[in-house]
Symmetry: C2
DNA sequence: TCGAAGCTTCGGCATCCGTCGAACCTCTCA
DNA sequence: TGAGAGGTTCGACGGATGCCGAAGCTTCGA
């Protein structure tokens, strides 16, 4: 895959972004991403197959939540923090915080 | 329908809430609700049928975003603002703001 | 140059979602 | 008490979604 499609910041829509964030696996990815700046697809710990993970990365990228760049044999994924903040101010942080809280909750249970 | 089910605040989950907010029609409902405190189901201007609207109200209610009380022949729906804020601090306001901006955008186009 | 690492794509499957119209329920009021 | 207003439920339909394993594509390194 040569050309990775990334929507422009003015093409992002709220429903698409919220939908991208409404899946537990994707939320986990985003949470991890928020702690690491940039990461390869394979460094997510999720209980789904490689192809499913790839699918989730695609959904996040096409909704405009993440950016993916190719580096040798692997892809490096990062959050489009600044652009998200520009287009939907204040949106991501509470989601991340709530997601962390929910993850702690699950760990405690 | 006698017993409307409303999840307790500690039963709300982030994916459910985000999913409930990821549909344009539901976003419009929530936006309207944010301006009016309480409203009846029929006072939404949406280009979908009555049954579809009813479905969307149900999704919002079951995700914990709204509260519905019966008053005579109609239902009065309101946002569960305080509880949402308690469970997911800071989440709703940016969503509302982004949704308003998107709606203005659409109106300008 | 060939093998392996790292992803994506494909095909398929079961489930969910948004949508509609028709039928139904319940409360109010004439 | 019966008609109507305001919603919900039902059944159906087409399309999207999440999931998987197998196969394919690229790039690096031996």
């Amino acid at each position: 895959m040569r050309n990775l499609h990334h929507p422009r910041v003015d093409e992002l829509t709220l429903p698409d972004v919220l939908h991208a964030l409404s899946d537990p696996v994707r939320l986990q990815i985003v949470r991890t991403l928020a702690e690491r700046e940039e990461m390869s697809c394979s460094s997510v710990e999720a209980s789904v197959s490689k192809s499913t993970l790839s699918h989730h990365f695609k959904v996040l990228r096409e909704a405009g939540v993440t950016h993916t760049r190719v580096n040798g044999t692997h892809r490096l994924v990062s959050l489009r923090l600044d652009e998200l903040e520009e287009r939907f101010p204040g949106l991501l942080e509470p989601v991340l915080e709530a997601s962390r809280a929910e993850s702690r909750r699950a760990a405690a249970a």
